[in-house]
Amino acid sequence: MAEKGKTREFKWQRKHLLGLRELTAEEITYLLDTAQGFEEISARAVKKAPPLRGKLVVNLFFEDSTRTRNSFALAANRLSADVVEFTKKDSSVSKGETLLDTARNLEAMGIDIVVIRHNAGGAPTLLSKYINACVVNAGDGFCEHPTQGLLDVFTIRKRKGSLKGLKIAIVGDISHSRVARSDMWAMTKLGAEVTFVGPPTLIPPKVDQLPVKVSYSLDDVIEKVDVINMLRIQFERLGGNPFPSVREYSHYFGLTVERMKRAKPDILVMHPGPINRGLEIESEVADGKNSVILQQVTNGVTVRMATLFLVNQAAAGKPAEIQNG
């Protein structure tokens, strides 16, 4: 955290956003503050500001994504950047062009920022070592999804004022969730207490060495938490048979109306989307008064604007300052 009494001497230095693990609380807070400054642009009649005019952003997506890809495109557009969509489904592993060759080709086209989603943990890190453009991680395997983590803490901060002392549960397939990991880093760095909730078969190794608690029982946790983030069951990532049936999973880990009755009245219900209605969350809860799921989507654009803005400023060698209004 920033030292008390110290005014904004902080300068954003990172030209890449690879993950939240390596960010300090001060950096995260600075990015969130920057995002807050950008909220106003999205509220304008003409939703545009000029800071990335003439810059080229490439959406390099090796995995299916609609929400995140569009959110990044929208964020880039609002800052007046040009966006090229580059979707290469299933081309990631050892056949055809390698990731680095793809990246070098893109760079030869004069890109400024690559937004990459890839099924391999560490792919953005690899990219950042070999190209000059800024690299923004839009999800790598089950390692990190930093802008999701940022939009989650942004959403919580907006509603609760601060994360300090909040109790947060993240529920579902922790093993294969990049959202769980990015959330964990961001939330704990900002002072929240995080509990991973899921069946033991979906909890990763050595979780005891992470700054979180673990529970196998949503019923034990539901009453205590201020925020609950329900992860999507990603059938495409599940190996083998980590739980016997969807029915049994929902019974133990679904956020039902029944369970919500025992929750704090002001609990925030979050979900990174897309929702499997009736599986990890009942429709009535997803659409209910405690749900901030759609605010998360709105805030996603804002946080991604701040991300693109800051990495670009860092690459240009200019100190990034919040441009308010």
Partner: protein
């Protein structure tokens, strides 16, 4: 007498003959003639003052990629790298493309090695056809052609009934069955040790249990057929749990041996934190606790051979995502100084102890008359400057591949001269 060569004034270490003192080594007609104080005048003399003179080093676990992946390594380039690392004998693993699975394949390796004329190249044959773990390969014919053991290395033999059959059948030829212990179901799609780092890096983990479960299973098989001449060798063991299994098996007097690599003694899973694929290796780099257990095992005499698992890969393959890059790292040309760093410098082994695990003991595992300076044996010698200090320079390696994580490491101990069959095959300039 034909060509004579005298190595004078070196400190000779020949553990099998309990020699550990300053003396001379006389070689004639490609064989050892005398180890002692040689008075007679000899035309060819190597002055080994201040150097260690040891039986030629033996590495029973290398991948020379030929046939199939000659872009990565050939038997010729691998042999050149071997003698530069002080190795006068190596054992190639049969996981080439196609694999070494019949006698013509074995003869092919030998022919290429003779042509290279650097180091002695032995090969193991595949345990099963196509290394698929289903049907036994022709072990008899391969053994006759000179295969020094059998392994499906790269794969473990998954089917317990096939493994039992292999161990039983191999007794006919008194050859070792070597296993890359890994239960594929438990291993899943793992690419690094399952632990804290795999969790935060978001990479699928290889559970230590995948190694230990198969090793435990194999030891039960060996126990069952103990009465015969079965010989089982656990390749590149990497976990504290494996050490305990080996300890228990040896305590029971079972015919079980094992080997270790430099990387499992010097590097941990933490090395993978930057997604550098030069640290992607199978078995994966484990934890400090595993390193301590392996070192303790070596100190206790439980490890029978120090190997390299030299596994060359192209830069273009290693420049892939950690998930997609192939497993393996190279190490023949820096193995000796790395073992000095891992084992001699911290006092785990003395020099005779180290040399024994790089000569006499591995020779026994593969059943060849090597690894000693006994009179009449083929004269393979490695001369070492134990005090030379330098930095490892991967760009100077003879290996065709450069996938080595030790570049720039400061080390002590250098191979000065490598003599194979009485002929100098490598000299440090």
């Amino acid at each position: 007498m034909g060509d004579e060569l005298l190595i004078k004034n070196g400190h000779v270490i020949d553990p099998a003959n309990k020699i550990n003192r300053k003396c001379d080594v006389l070689i004639a007609d490609e064989k050892f003639v005398e180890v002692g104080h040689v008075k007679k005048p000899v035309a060819n003399v190597i002055d080994a003052t201040g150097k260690l003179v040891v039986p030629g080093l033996i590495d029973i676990h290398v991948h020379f990629r030929e046939p199939g992946d000659e872009e990565e390594e050939t038997i010729a380039s691998g042999s050149a790298a071997a003698v530069a690392g002080g190795f006068t004998s190596v054992v190639c693993m049969p996981n080439t493309t196609p694999p070494i699975e019949d006698e013509t394949d074995v003869e092919y390796v030998h022919r290429k090695a003779r042509k290279a004329r650097k180091t002695h190249v032995y090969t193991m044959g595949a345990i099963t056809k196509g290394r698929e773990g289903i049907e036994l390969a022709e072990m008899g014919f391969m053994a006759q052609a000179g295969a020094v053991g059998f392994t499906d290395d790269g794969n473990g033999v998954q089917d317990v009934s096939v493994m039992l059959r292999a161990l039983k059948y191999a007794q006919m030829f008194n050859v070792v069955i070597a296993q890359h212990c890994q239960d594929d179901k438990l291993a899943g799609k793992g690419v690094m040790n399952a632990g804290y780092y795999s969790t935060i890096l978001g990479l699928p983990g290889l559970d230590p249990l995948a190694e230990e479960a198969m090793l435990w299973r194999d030891i039960q098989l060996v126990k069952k057929i103990k009465a015969g001449t079965v010989r089982y060798h656990a390749q590149h063991i990497s976990t504290a749990g494996s050490v305990e299994l080996i300890r228990a098996a040896k305590k029971q007097g079972l015919p079980v041996t094992c080997e270790a690599t430099p990387h499992h003694l010097l590097l941990t899973e933490k090395c993978c934190a930057e997604y550098d694929t030069n640290y992607k290796v199978n078995p994966p780099l484990r934890t400090q606790k595993d390193i301590e257990a392996l070192k303790e095992a070596i100190a206790d005499g439980l490890v029978d051979a120090l190997v390299t698992d030299h596994a060359p890969h192209l830069q273009s393959e290693k420049e892939l995502e950690f998930l997609a890059a192939p497993f393996g790292l190279i190490g023949m040309e820096c193995a000796l100084p790395l073992y000095i760093k891992a084992l001699i410098e911290p006092g785990i082994l003395d020099w005779p102890g180290l040399i024994r695990l790089m000569t006499e003991k591995p020779a026994k595992i593969i059943g060849v008359d090597k690894g000693t300076m006994t009179k009449g044996r083929q004269a393979d010698v490695t001369i070492i400057d134990p005090n030379a200090e330098y930095k490892i320079d991967v760009s100077a390696f003879r290996s065709k591949s450069k996938n080595c994580p030790y570049n720039g490491w400061s080390v002590k101990g250098r191979v000065e001269t490598t003599i194979v069959g009485g002929e100098i095959r490598f000299s440090h300039e």
